[in-house]
């Protein structure tokens, strides 16, 4: 391994720049926004999971004093059945619009039907109850296998299965079928001494961010639309608004306020276009807030899935073939993350013969949305459980079998890409060497499990400008909304280049009129790509400042070097000036210095994680307790280690929730029966131990400091690791998520 670079700022743990605002309650989140003359909006939602909308009569609601305006799908421009490019992939515009306000059919309970603006939120809510909607109720279909049956209720008459370039000839709930092939799958299984094939089912889960969706919109008479909101990406909101409202992008300004969690769930828009329609109709600013039930029922969860995994290995533990069928629910409209699941399902292992089939299936549930490594957790639950069973069958340590088959630089994934330098092996070794793995865990009904995970990470566009202040500090302007400390991790990369402390960089997240295009905070891309842009913008500053130093000393620019925050002249006289001192002399050397950079970096590098968990099972009640948890992960280079640890710990705990209790529970009519934080059971701090983390640093060759995105991969291993630990504790293989107490009791034959 090459020698580690010494950094002054990178790898330290400064106080985050937005920290004081956030611990004093002063930070302004979306719902906190106030403006004179504000009206309040509420959305009426479908009580039925599947129904034709026969008529909507708003007259009684309009007559309620305090009601200022009502909108329905009629107020949206007629949407064409065409694909719209929204940066993160193309989306059918009609589906996009219908999900904002249903035009002809309600496709899930909670589907938005109409919205009211009123002088206060209580009146708006009351008015919603006075809107008369006539529905023709249709039978719902809620599960992918049922949705694939020939006689299943059909959600969309126009969907024909798109399968490997062919289009089906009759309406289907299977929107698409994809396939990745590598090698010869039959040959691979023939070479195997052991073949294990299992089926897995996972439930629908929600990102569970604590802040509900919110939007405040204002239309000016000059046609300018401004939307204040919390979002993972102001520019994607602008794009979606432009498409849905068929409105010029130049007339839309999106102002991102502080955001209270997203995890992928705050990329798609829901109430932002509704607020805009109400603002246009009333001529007043309108704030629309969701309540918690709206969030569960009216925004995108991540899909339930039905997965089969078949893996073969030789007696020495070498995997020879792997095959899977990934059937993911898309929700009401096509577009599940099955593609990402297919990219990740076997990616951690170098397997010669692979066959992956993925199916995107519509059901009467909310249109699914990304959730932290979308698709990969579902897939890894299957793969990592079968690998555990293979290791057990072959009497091989579960980490050893992963070491033996783990992907390395130069190995090719089944979906095509060849890995650059990656740190999977290092993450397994870190787990193996951790005291946790060596500790004894021999108590009755206690068990230990391990699992690994891969997430590809993304790059995409980021823009940064840096203005140099006369006191040697800089103002850094960026477009990446800060969900978890990225102001700090981005500012630190600029500070490192400029040779100034992190505290001397003032990062600000600005609106869509004030910075170049910047893609969403998602895909584990922000510290990587916006950080890279900050690095480049800082290099731009350095370059310009060199020119100023050259001017000051009347030497050639080529003769100026910049080391440790000092500009100096290489030859001639011994001249030297600090970044700070030179900052004070910009006026006399040509005026302000603004560094700028836009990036769309390709080398995101992949992230790998390996987790070890100890559990105790109460065999009388089926309850699983997490006793100890250790997560190792290749972060490439941890810019701010505390926030890398925080990402790992947060991801692990979301994975624990997914593993043990979280799921959408439906009744026979297709209504979610647990749409509250009371009954959608996310972990509390009393359910958990401390989460130990080991940051492994195998630098990403695609980033100047070696950064790899860290946010997503830690959610992937926990369900499988916990399933494997439960097996170790009680000898029962759990193949359905969540592994809730009643399912454990059933699996143990107690009920």
């Amino acid at each position: 391994m090459s020698e580690k670079k010494e950094y002054k700022v990178i790898g330290t743990r400064p106080i985050r720049h937005d920290g004081v605002d956030k611990v004093t309650g002063r930070a302004i989140y979306g719902a906190d926004f106030q403006i004179t003359g504000l009206l309040h909006g509420r959305v009426l939602r479908s009580p039925h999971a599947h129904a034709k909308i026969v008529s909507i009569d708003t007259s009684r609601a309009e007559a309620l004093p305090g009601v200022k305006g009502i909108v329905t799908a009629q107020d949206l421009p007629a949407a064409e059945d065409k694909m719209a490019d929204l940066g993160e992939g193309a989306v059918n515009l009609k589906y996009l619009c219908d999900n904002i306000l249903a035009s002809d059919k309600a496709l899930y309970k909670g589907h938005a039907i109409a919205a009211v603006a009123a002088s206060n939120p209580h009146i708006a809510e009351e008015a919603c109850t006075l809107i008369d909607v006539e529905y023709e109720v249709l039978p719902p279909v809620l599960e992918v296998r049922q949705a694939m049956e020939p006689d299943a209720p059909i959600l969309h008459d126009n969907i024909r299965t798109s399968s490997l370039g062919e289009t089906g000839d009759k309406p289907s709930n299977v929107a698409s079928h994809l396939q990745h092939k590598k090698g010869d799958i039959e040959k691979g299984f023939t070479e195997a001494d052991v073949v294990i094939e299992r089926e897995f089912v996972t439930g629908t889960v929600h990102q569970g961010y604590i802040e509900p969706h919110n939007a405040t919109a204002l239309y000016n008479p000059d046609g300018q639309l401004t939307v204040w909101c919390s979002t993972q990406g102001a520019f994607t909101v602008r794009e979606q608004l432009a498409e849905i409202l068929q409105y010029p992008i130049s007339k839309i300004k999106v102002v991102p306020l502080e955001i209270g969690g997203g995890f992928g769930g705050k990329i798609n828009v829901y109430i932002k276009p509704v607020a805009a329609l109400l603002a246009k109709k009333t001529g007043k600013p309108v704030k629309v807030l969701m309540n918690r039930a709206d969030v569960f029922e009216g925004t995108g969860p991540t899909p339930a899935s039905y997965i089969t995994i078949k893996i073969g290995a030789t007696n020495d533990g070498k995997i020879t073939a792997a095959q899977t069928s990934l059937v993911f629910e898309a929700g009401a409209y096509p577009g599940s993350p099955v593609g990402a699941g297919a990219m990740c399902v076997f990616a951690p292992y170098n397997i010669e013969n692979v066959l992956i089939d993925g199916y995107d299936v519509v059901v009467n549930k909310p249109k699914t949305a990304p959730y932290r490594a979308p698709g990969a957790t579902n897939a890894a639950f299957g793969t990592e459980t079968v690998i555990d069973e293979l290791a057990e069958t072959l009497y091989i340590d579960p980490l050893e079998i992963r070491l033996k088959n783990g992907a390395k630089e130069g190995d090719r994934r089944a979906d095509g890409p060849v890995f650059p330098r990656i740190g999977f092996i290092e993450s397994i070794e870190a787990a193996k060497e951790h005291p946790h793995y060596a500790s004894s865990n021999g108590k009755k009904y206690h068990g230990r499990g391990v699992a690994s995970g891969f997430w590809f990470n993304i790059g995409l566009e980021s823009s940064v400008t840096i203005n140099v202040n006369p006191d040697g500090t800089v103002n850094l302007v960026e477009g990446s909304t800060d969900i978890g400390g990225t102001r700090a991790s981005i500012a630190m990369q600029a500070a490192e280049v400029l040779g100034i402390p992190a505290e001397s960089v003032n990062p600000t997240v600005v609106d869509t009129n004030s910075i170049g295009y910047t893609a969403v905070t998602g895909g584990s891309r922000t510290t990587y790509a916006t950080g890279y842009a900050a690095y480049q913008a800082a290099q731009d500053v350095v370059q310009q400042m060199k020119t100023r130093a050259a001017k000051l000393w009347d030497v050639k620019e080529d003769n100026i070097q910049f080391v440790d925050g000092e500009f100096s002249s290489i030859n001639g006289k011994e001249q030297q000036i600090s970044f700070r001192d030179l900052s004070a002399r910009l006026g006399e050397t040509g005026g302000p210095v603004i560094g700028r950079a836009t990036m769309n970096p390709a080398g995101a590098g992949g992230a790998f994680a390996t987790h070890v968990v100890d559990v105790a099972v109460d065999v009388e009640t089926g309850k699983v307790e997490i006793l100890r948890y250790t997560a190792t992960q290749d972060a490439g280079k941890a810019i701010h280690p505390s926030y890398v640890e925080g990402q790992i710990q947060g991801g692990v705990v979301q994975g624990i929730g997914w593993a043990l209790n979280e799921e959408y529970i439906y009744n026979a009519d297709g209504a979610m029966t647990n749409a509250s934080f009371l009954d959608y059971r996310m972990p509390t701090c009393l359910d958990l131990p401390m989460i130990d983390t080991v940051i492994v640093e195998v630098p990403n060759p695609g980033h100047p400091y070696g950064v790899r995105g860290v946010g997503e991969v830690p959610i992937i291993p926990p369900p499988a690791a916990i399933a494997n630990a439960i097996y170790d504790a009680i000898g029962v293989r759990m193949t359905e998520l969540p592994m809730s107490p009643d399912r454990l009791l059933k699996a143990m034959g107690k009920i």
């Binding site: 209580h122 809510e125 009351e126 009388e620 009640t621 089926g622 309850k623 043990l660 209790n661 529970i665 029966t673 647990n674 934080f677 009371l678 009954d679 059971r681 972990p683 509390t684 009393l686 359910d687 809730s740 107490p741 009643d742 009791l745 107690k750 009920i751």
Partner: protein, 292 residues
């Protein structure tokens, strides 16, 4: 939320007159942790909320080793478990008050409200049943007293008639060699509603080897919290043994009539009644034995 009037009543007679006058659109506001949510979610139609927290009678928290505990209807959980004498005398009640909601809920919610809300899954009710508690009810026609196990009649329904309110709960002083225990099963460790709850109180002989009498009560397995009378009677005058406790647990399972819902399945609940009844009985017995 629907519009309603708020009235801050100062006396029991004022509150019951208002209740009588306004009829079933008037509700008593104590801790509000259920009522405000139900009003907000439209589960109850409300015209008036009558706040009783300024009425001295409903704030009473007094314990006497001879006469027992008087617990005002609006006394919040945190005051109950802050009272050492109450903790020593009725540990089963304390088990419940420390698990109702989180600490912020316990700052407002009380056992009286838990009773009047009449949820089948109420954690506060089984301990009251096993402790032989009675309800002091006041109405426009005077006062009456009824056993806690007869108070709830259906989910959200109680014996309270027009113009009646719960003023306080009376728990007799604990007998020699007695103790109580309550536990519930929830998938998380906090913030959940009981999938099943079980409370037990036992009186042992001086050697602490025999059960003189026992009372068992269950939550979340029927339309109201249940007094498991037969299971309780089975243990009277029995040597403490695994077999005796198993018998009682089985008898408790027989009377459980659980439903399946988002919190648990009927078969899971029936199974848990057995498990929790055993644990509650063993817990109560252990407490007697641990006492000096």
């Amino acid at each position: 939320m629907q519009a309603f009037e708020y009235i801050n009543a100062k006396t029991v007679s004022e509150a019951v007159s208002l209740l009588y006058e306004k009829g079933d659109k008037a509700r008593i506001l104590a801790g509000g942790t259920d009522l405000i949510v139900q009003a907000r979610e439209g589960k109850r139609t409300l015209g008036w909320m009558i706040d009783i927290k300024s009425i001295p009678d409903v704030n009473e928290l007094s314990y006497d080793s001879e006469t027992g505990l008087t617990l005002g209807a609006s006394v919040p959980c945190y005051q109950i478990y802050a009272a050492d004498a109450v903790c020593n005398a009725y540990p089963g009640l304390i088990d419940a008050t420390t698990i109702i909601g989180g600490t912020a809920i316990q700052g407002r919610a009380g056992v009286g409200g838990n009773l009047c809300n009449a949820s089948p899954a109420a954690d506060g009710i089984p301990p009251l049943i096993v402790l032989n508690a009675t309800c002091n009810i006041a109405g426009t026609n005077g006062k009456r007293e009824i056993p806690v196990e007869d108070f709830c009649t259906a989910p959200g329904q109680t014996v309270l008639e027009k113009g009646e309110m719960l003023v306080s709960i009376k728990i007799p002083a604990p007998q020699q060699n007695s103790s109580s225990y309550y536990l519930r099963f929830i998938p998380r460790n906090e913030m959940d509603i009981a999938v099943v709850g079980a409370g037990a109180a036992v009186v042992l002989d001086d050697k602490k080897e025999r059960i003189i009498s026992a009372r068992i009560a269950l939550a979340a397995v029927a339309p109201t919290p249940l007094f498991a009378e037969e299971a309780s009677t089975l243990l009277a005058d029995r040597e403490i043994s695994e077999a005796a406790i198993d018998e009682a647990a089985q008898a408790a399972q027989v009377i459980a009539r659980p439903i399946s819902d988002m919190r648990g399945t009927a078969e899971q609940r029936t199974h848990l009644v057995g498990v929790l009844t055993r644990r509650a009985l063993n817990g109560a017995i252990q407490r007697v034995r641990d006492a000096a």
